[in-house]
Amino acid sequence: MTTCRRFYRECPEFSICVNIGKKDYVLAEDPGERYTIFQYGINGKGKFGRIFESDYITFEGGKFYDVREYVHDNVVFHAQEDFFLIGFNTQDKSQRWEGRLVTESELDVTSHTPEIKYNRHFIICFDGKPVVNGKKLKRYDFSEIYPNKKYNIEHTGVIGLFTKL
């Protein structure tokens, strides 16, 4: 039997949804429930795309995906292997976000450009136990990141950086 365990956690600015399931599981979402704009695969593999369209993305473990363009669509995910996916969800589809994995060992979001001065930045721990400014993060821990402050990162895990524009 193909199964999937799903859960959801939120804070005022965003939420995450987690799907952990078995090979061959099929998950469909309509635009009314779809708020995922970035996706990180902890492990496993599966095809993701718009329903009835031939184009698709293959989600793979250890990779980060920008799925903003699908947020208003009927989508489907078909697991090719047992999988563990984390989705970053906006609370408001009209709100613009940027997202990426953090690779630098010193994170600095300071900007002197006026129009992006008021962006808000958040990091989320997706995997492992990365250490930021001496604090060890666990999976799903998040923190707001402020300009004019440097964040030293020991990459003993995976961290996503999300900017609310």
């Binding site: 956690r9 939120e10 804070c11």
Partner: protein
């Protein structure tokens, strides 16, 4: 499924249109006699039928019984160990771990 609520009318005062009642849940660890007594005004009760009367007493008692449940002390022998940060089951053997009854819906924010 939660246990039934017990109530016992301790006194009735028609002159002042009120009564005193004790509440507890059916599987309470103590006798209902050991629980606090509450005054209930007739104005909070429904006398249209016996069922309606009991239901209106229940509506007063349910939050009281729930609070009693939440206020029960934790037995010394049920106090949990420190957080265990491990995925090795061996590290959990013989230790008491405390987790919230419902799955949390809030993300954990860390100050950096």
């Amino acid at each position: 499924m939660l246990p039934n609520i017990l109530f016992k009318v301790i006194s009735n005062n028609p002159t002042h249109q009120q009564m005193t009642v004790k509440f507890c849940r059916e599987n309470a660890p103590e006798s209902i006699e050991n629980y606090e007594t509450y005054n209930i005004s007739y104005s909070n009760l429904d006398f249209s039928s016996s069922n309606a009367l009991i239901e209106s007493i229940r509506s007063v008692g349910s939050s009281i019984a729930q609070q009693q449940f939440l206020d029960e002390p934790i037995l010394e022998e049920n106090k949990s160990s420190n957080d265990i940060d491990s995925i090795d089951i061996e590290d959990y053997v013989g230790k008491i771990v405390s987790v919230s009854f419902n799955a949390t819906k809030e993300l954990n924010e860390v100050e950096l």
